[in-house]
Symmetry: C2
Subunit: 348 residues, 2 copies
């Protein structure tokens, strides 16, 4: 921007002081006499002095920016996470730069390059569905860039992790479906290499096992693009129904998959929850407005964003290298609604 702001030099000239005196008076760092300091501060306030962040960053090799890489912004879950991140960054005076990977490994790498080129002090990242190898992130981390994983995490290297209790959420939801009398419960989910997928499948299988139900791997459908392509959800659903032994309930493992599946079931004319039960992970704000009102597992997205940002800033501002890392796991919340309400509570 071409807007001319007042600089330290201007103040120095006006008060007939050296640059360094002004700088030190403003920072309050060094031995500057009271009268001089007050004079400088008064002048600075009066003329609305704002230090030039670019110059400070160049000098100090920090930028007070944190970079965020996530899949895409319109997704309800991530939109809420962003709000959480911003709420912390705002008070700590960091700027948040958001980039989207659009579930693509290549774009994730580009986003990361762009961010590091722009000088960020730290990175918050949720892996894209295509990402199975984290060496691009590990390399930055090894060079000293503080990193916090959230949501879709990796344990390829040690750092703070912030995630939902995906296993617990999937367990709760599967149990709920079982209690409602559903028996052949399918899961439509993200690629198998993602942490969230593994955990959500683990919870699902755990609930089934505990209930003495068989586990049928053909009921688990992986969408390689996490539902970015509508057709992959369609394929998954039709495979389930064309199998000769269709499910009586579907559990979708993400926001997009949930909405996509619901949409397809309605198009197929399935009656929910009669013909088939339907539920999923979703942070959409008004799931009760759907037909039928949708049973969801909701993640505390805002809190997760907040915590991730707090941990990251703590990492950035730590004087000593941090060696003890935290793994924050947030409970999920099951909201049972009409879409799984068979009104038959079966004992087993």
């Amino acid at each position: 921007m071409k807007i001319q702001n007042i600089t330290i030099k201007d103040i120095a000239k006006a008060l007939d002081l050296s640059y360094s005196t002004v700088s030190r008076a403003l920072k309050g760092s060094y031995k500057i006499s009271e009268p001089v300091r007050n004079k400088v501060i008064a002048y600075a306030n009066e003329h609305n002095y704002r230090p030039n962040l670019l110059a400070q960053s160049l000098k100090n090799k920090n930028s007070r920016c944190i970079g965020v890489v996530l899949c895409n912004i319109p997704n309800s879950f991530f939109a809420e996470v962003i709000s959480g991140i911003e709420s912390v960054a705002y008070t700590k005076n960091y700027l948040v730069i958001i980039t989207q990977s659009h579930e693509s490994y290549e774009r994730e790498i580009q986003a990361l390059e762009n961010l590091t080129w722009r000088s960020i002090d730290g990175l918050l990242i949720s892996l894209s569905t295509e990402t199975s190898d984290c060496s691009h992130i590990a390399a930055l981390h090894a060079k000293g860039l503080p990193v916090v994983f959230f949501d879709r995490v990796s344990e390829d290297f040690k750092t703070h992790l912030v995630k939902a209790d995906n296993e617990g959420g999937a367990y709760d939801l599967t149990n709920h479906l079982l209690h409602q009398g559903y028996r052949r419960i399918a899961q439509i989910t993200s690629p198998a290499h993602l942490s969230i997928t593994q955990e959500r499948i683990a919870g699902y299988k755990k609930a089934l096992s505990e209930a003495g139900q068989p586990i049928d791997e053909s009921l688990i459908k992986y969408c390689e693009h996490g539902g970015m392509l509508f057709e992959e959800i369609e394929t998954a659903v039709s495979e389930l129904f064309d199998s000769g032994n269709p499910p009586d309930a579907i559990f979708a493992a993400s926001d997009r998959l949930t909405l996509g599946t619901l949409s397809i079931l309605k198009k197929m004319g399935k009656s929910i929850p009669g013909d088939i039960g339907m539920a999923g992970f979703s942070n959409f704000s008004e799931p009760e407005l759907f037909e039928p009102a949708l049973t969801t597992i909701k993640q505390p997205a805002f809190e997760m964003g907040k915590t991730a940002a707090e941990l990251l800033i703590q990492l950035i501002e730590s004087k000593r290298p941090v060696t003890e890392f935290e793994k924050k796991v947030f409970p999920t919340e099951l909201k049972a609604r009409a879409s799984t309400n068979r009104k038959i509570s079966v004992a087993y």
Copy 2:
């Protein structure tokens, strides 16, 4: 970031050249001989040289960042706008910094201060509901900051405007409701001082007038916070129904108002579209999933973001001061669905 990148100085030392020669060779700007230039470029590529953007910005007084101020990210409309902005910025190599006003005038000012402090090259802004006076933006514009308004625009000063055809959209929707046989059509809308509100009311009134219907100002309810407070929507709805002469259809003027109103009507046990017709401006991705499937006016949000970003970058990169400004108006799209389907087409 503490990551040490290779600098021009490193290249200069390695090749035994001066800094300036290296700089000029890389920029391709000045008289540098072929062999020297090639040598420099080869070395730079080999060692993965990236110019330090902070230093460049400091020197050139531009930052290759554009600032965006909007109400809030989780809103479907704005989330799509952001995607549009990013798609352009990405190819033109600008970074997008998104800030939220949360519909507050004060936070809008803070966001703006933060952005300018951070050095942005241009600004995209959609006014908060509380903003009636644009002098804070005009001041920046007067200082030379390129500004493009989108969505909620102001004509306080001359610049590019990007908006939807709000009047046309409201006209179409009102007409649709009239054709469906609704007669007492209410509008729940944003504060009266906003451009979008005025236009949406104008279209609504125009359709009513043309149909020979009376205009009842008591059917227009303004939500001072644009629906950020759920209670204000509740108040608006209950006032409509408690008036003794309730509406037979409600037209909500924004994403949040639409979802909020629908939610309240359902809680009240109203039958839609029987008791009351319901429709609104909304960019939610799957309105057909609602109960009932929701009639919407959809704005081309992605296109709007794209165009706004293009105009802004054009402004930023223009050599001469621009004096001719454009006003881009995008058509909206009416999607009639069950929530307004009375199945009685009344001639009038």
